[in-house]
Subunit: 291 residues, 2 copies
């Protein structure tokens, strides 16, 4: 199957699974919270993280759909982080993916709760995974939580806020972005390997690939904030002017090269897998992305 | 050991374990988020939920300390819910347990993140539990998530907000409070039985006890909002005047009787356990509590 065709098939599987989550909760009186959660969860997006979980499961030799609970859990956590990030007391954004942000539609209180619900419910979804070795579910949950928690993504957000008033060193920017974006890309890759019953060496390969891809991804994001089209991005551009971005650190043309370098190093980590062609093309496609 | 003595021993064990969680994260640059989380997590309180986890583990015949990861996880989730509840876009409270609320000390953005961190990190702590049957960790995580998530506690908060402008029926108030308070009392009891390798019948007994105790607890809370002393409670009283409380539904004197009735029914569920004397005394002590 060609890359584009496989990617589309994965995306359809993922959309169907994501749509089934709150639908399966039925006709509860608190339905408005399911609607607020779904408004952001089902707003499209690249579905990069869940796609990584499915493909890492597949290249370890198992049915990629066995990684769906992990894939969905990571996307739910990613979605909650966007809802809370957009709040007036955080980034105070009105638009996300070309639509009004969650609190603009449902109000601030409901947006806080919708984020909390997606985060909490994600762990019930992840715990549903049927693993080849059921005892490994604890390890998977711990990795998911650590990548998303105060040692991972939330830690990165805090560092970002703390450093907003000063110019960071290169090492600090790398640390902030590794946590803020990187860890929630590491999680689906490693969880995909766990769902696929892969080896420890494959877990390490997946983590290495994900960390480097995460940096390439974030640098591309910083570039798009400067050169991107607001319409295509679905959000305002030029908003990162005084932030500690890679563009501010290295300048635009060095950043273009860095995206390529990190992506090449990421692809190099895939040696421990028998057939990394989809992941290779996926990584390369991200270097050129417009949104 | 006498009840009071045992309760104090449990509380000390719990405080020590809770204090060790963020301390074990070490000297990370994002340390301020650990401090914000600890400000609320280590602010005292009855530690009712973790105590229940430990005691249910013990009466199933195992060392109560084996339930500490579950006990702490539930208390972290309880704490996050208080931080987010107190936010200006929610209840907008300035005081909690006699101290300034989290956002009053650390600012709104940090309070949102501190809540998110406690909620996320709770699952990593829970996943650390060493169970007699390691395969059951998935079940435990699913129960924890469902009790706290949009089918549980968050669902109850949403129903509470949705019904704020109208008078609810008795059934509605019971449903709201069962979710809002009850489910996060059910979680530690059932997780305690899982940590203790108890039977299905014991899990059901624990869940029944916890649901009824949760109602008694909430009715006592509503009573204290009317007759309690703000100094002893550490928060403002008389604030629930136009809310759908049990006092508004039944009146004060009926509520006093209801607390006793629900507590008696809760204790009746403990028949499936060999030695429920501590839990019996704990339940009875809550009927008389002043804060």
């Amino acid at each position: 199957m060609k890359f584009e065709e496989q990617a589309r098939a994965y995306r359809e599987t993922i959309e169907r699974y994501l749509a089934s989550i709150y639908a399966s909760f039925g006709e509860e009186p608190q339905k408005p919270i399911f609607e607020a959660a779904n408004y952001s969860l089902l707003a499209g997006g690249k579905r990069l993280r869940p796609m990584l979980a499915l493909e890492f499961c597949r290249i370890c030799g198992r049915n990629p759909e066995e990684a769906l609970p992990f894939a969905a859990a990571v996307e739910m956590i990613h979605t909650y982080s966007l809802i809370h990030d957009d709040l007036p007391c955080m980034d105070n954004d009105d638009y996300r993916r070309g639509r009004l942000t969650n609190h603009k539609v449902f109000g601030e209180g409901m947006a806080v709760l919708a984020g909390d619900a997606l985060l909490t419910d994600a762990f019930a979804v992840a715990a549903r995974a049927k693993l080849p070795e059921p005892g490994k579910i604890g390890e998977a949950i711990a990795i998911l939580s650590e990548c998303a928690g105060s040692l991972g993504m939330i830690g990165g957000q805090v560092l970002d806020i703390m450093s907003a008033q000063r110019a960071c060193t290169e090492q600090e920017v790398l640390d902030i972005q590794s946590r803020k974006t990187g860890r929630l890309i590491v999680a689906p890759c490693v969880l995909g390997v766990i769902a696929g019953n892969g080896t420890e060496a494959q877990k390490e390969g997946a983590a290495g690939f994900a960390s480097l891809l995460g940096l390439a991804f974030q640098i591309r994001d910083d570039i798009l904030d400067v050169i991107g089209d607001a319409g295509e991005l679905g959000k305002a551009t030029g908003v990162d002017g005084d932030k500690n971005t890679f563009v501010r650190l290295y300048g635009l043309s060095s950043c273009e090269q860095l995206v390529k370098d990190y992506t090449a190093r990421a692809i190099d980590c895939l040696k421990v897998f028998p057939d990394p062609s989809f992941l290779t093309e996926l990584a390369l496609s991200l270097t050129e992305r417009k949104n």
